[in-house]
């Protein structure tokens, strides 16, 4: 980095490299234009989805983005002819419980491995981290066999069990727990807290941003999960939202307006929640990506 400074670091070069205000404005405008064009491409599918969901009859195949006679009929038909609200509830149950479970167990294991000294903890950490290399695809067939034997197919427990703890979550929590100063924990121990109390009352507060980020990732992952749910779910009443939409759409054939209503109901609330917490969510995801 220093060599070029010696070669060309003279004052004459200064005016040449700094752009004058008008060109800078033109460049900024061009950049905004490009970014806006890209933003339209990112958002257009959602607009088209919403537009179709409010259309009926021949208008479904009309190119206009704003329906001439917007109607709620597709949503009505969808809710009346399917278990849609039940699928919503199922997804919520699965996503909330797995998120709570991961927040609890991942942080507990992460804390134990980072801050409690006991024989064998290095081995346990390696064992857990090594499972990161196992792709889910390799596990679904044995899971299916095990769960069939245990009678867990088509149950909430069967859908959720594989996601109750994750190696990524343990790894992430372990990384952030290591950053907590030992003095802080020792002070809590001297104050009479046992190890459970130290973890629950002191350590968890220190890793709040990372824990929140983990919760967001786990919730999104389970809310949108498809591979394992589509295998383990058999009855319509147990379907989660992605499985319900996929199977309904496969059967709905060319009724695109109904399929788009189903997609809209799944997508819009998530986008609304995201718009509300976008700063925290984006920062959280960046945080977990960099560790």
């Amino acid at each position: 980095m220093q060599e070029p400074a010696i070669q060309t670091g003279t004052l004459e070069n200064l005016p040449r490299s700094s752009t004058s205000p008008p060109t800078r404005d033109v460049r900024a405008a061009a950049l905004h234009l490009l970014l806006l064009a890209g933003a339209v491409l990112m958002i257009f599918p959602f607009l088209w989805m919403l537009a179709t969901s409010f259309k009926q009859g021949a208008e479904v195949f009309n190119i206009s983005l704003i329906p001439r006679q917007p109607t709620w009929a597709n949503y009505q038909t969808l809710l009346e002819s399917t278990n849609y609200l039940r699928w919503y509830l199922n997804s919520a149950i699965v996503a909330i419980i797995t998120t709570a479970s991961e927040a609890f167990f991942d942080s507990m294991a992460g804390y134990g491995l980072a801050k409690i000294k006991f024989p064998g903890r290095g081995l346990i950490l390696i064992l857990i981290l090594s499972t990161l290399m196992i792709p889910t695809e390799m596990l679904i067939i044995p899971w299916y066999m095990m769960f069939t034997k245990a009678g867990w197919v088509d149950t909430y427990w069967g859908i959720m069990l594989p996601g109750l703890v994750s190696a990524f979550g343990v790894f992430l929590m372990n990384q952030f727990m290591q950053g907590i100063p030992d003095d802080l924990l020792d002070a809590a121990r001297i104050d009479g807290l046992n190890e459970f109390g130290v973890w629950w009352h002191v350590a968890l507060h220190q890793v709040k941003p990372a824990l929140a980020a983990l919760c967001i990732l786990v919730f999104l992952g389970n809310w949108n999960a498809f591979l394992w749910p589509v295998i383990v779910i058999e009855s319509s009443a147990m379907r989660t939202l992605p499985v319900g939409i996929a199977l309904f759409s496969g059967e709905a054939g060319p009724e695109w307006q109904l399929i788009m209503a189903a997609a809209s109901l799944a997508v819009i609330p998530v986008v609304a929640v995201f718009a509300f917490f976008q700063k925290q969510i984006v920062q959280g995801i960046a945080l977990t990506g960099m560790k």
């Binding site: 390799m138 703890v165 496969g250 997508v267």
Partner: protein, 304 residues
């Protein structure tokens, strides 16, 4: 004093085991045992419909070697990776640099580009399937209104794989942008200022300062994108497959079939658990190699 010291340490150890007991049990029963079981099943002719599940050694792997559909799925999967990952990296970096260099609406752009990433892949796959629809989908309507010929998109063997890849890139882009933005923010501005004072142009700053300093981020995202594309499943199941139970997955004519979709159809349509497990073992080996390459490259840090 000594005995008290020891009992304190023992108490700590007990707490440690208490904290790890349930998680460890989980990883043994739900991750490690099934993984070993997958290897075992892959060595058997494991037809769900028959009672006998004879040990066949490497026969499933030999069958794979001679199975043209497996090779089709493998080549398709490779295509998904080599098309999607460079696109995600290049577009992600370009958008991130653009967002960083405009002074206003940074948060707005970041939010908009990130929206597809958080939405349900099943739902957006159906939205794209509708937009790609040959007779009356919005893309062909736009083409026709411009006087251009209609395209087959998902319904023809020539374009379907690329159409699926577009959706993969569209949905992943926001994640790449966010991670690149985080990486860009960690580059101390003084490096760029120093280079500019030295007379470096924008392109030179980007090529010789930004990109090398972003190297760990680029490697991380390249590996993540590769592993994700190796596991592509949901988009294909929802965009190019006929109705469920019809056995027509990854169409038309296997042109979009991926390894994971093939695993799924062998295991849960044809009930050939042994053969399907053998393919998962191959997928595991591929992902393992990619991960090891990542560890090797990442441990070689760039220093400035």
């Amino acid at each position: 004093m000594a005995s008290l010291q020891l009992s304190l340490r023992q108490r700590q150890a007990l707490w440690g085991y208490a904290f790890l007991l349930l998680p460890l049990l989980f990883f043994l029963v739900v991750r490690i045992y099934p993984a070993l079981s997958a290897f075992n099943v892959s060595l058997h002719q494991w037809d769900v419909m028959s009672v006998r599940k004879p040990f066949v050694g490497m026969q499933n792997f030999v069958q794979m070697w001679h199975d043209p559909v497996f090779w089709k799925a493998a080549v398709n999967t490779l295509l998904y990776v080599v098309i999607s990952v460079p696109l995600e990296l290049i577009l992600g970096l370009l958008v991130a640099v653009a967002i960083q260099s405009v002074n206003r609406f940074q948060g707005f752009y970041r939010t908009i580009y990130f929206v597809p990433y958080i939405t349900s892949t099943v739902a957006v796959s159906w939205v794209w399937r509708w937009m790609y629809f040959k007779n009356g989908g919005v893309f062909n309507q736009i083409l026709l209104s411009l006087g251009l010929p209609a395209q087959s998109f998902l319904s023809g063997t020539e374009q379907a794989l690329y159409c699926v890849t577009v959706v993969v890139v569209w949905q992943a882009l926001g994640y790449f942008v966010v991670i690149f933005l985080a990486g860009l923010e960690m580059i101390p501005p003084m490096y760029k200022e120093a280079a500019k004072i030295d007379g470096a142009t924008g392109w030179h700053v980007f090529r010789y300062i930004t990109v090398p300093l972003l190297n760990p981020t680029i490697v991380f995202l390249a590996v993540l994108g590769t592993i994700n594309s190796l596991q592509i499943f949901t988009q294909i199941m929802n965009m190019t497959s006929g109705g469920y139970g019809h056995g027509d997955l990854g169409g038309p004519l296997n042109s979009t079939l991926s390894l994971v979709v093939y695993i799924y159809s062998q295991a849960f349509y044809k009930f050939q658990m042994g053969y399907a497990s053998a393919i998962t073992v191959v997928l595991f080996a591929i992902i393992l190699v990619v991960t090891l390459i990542q560890l090797k490259v990442l441990s070689r840090r760039v220093d400035y």
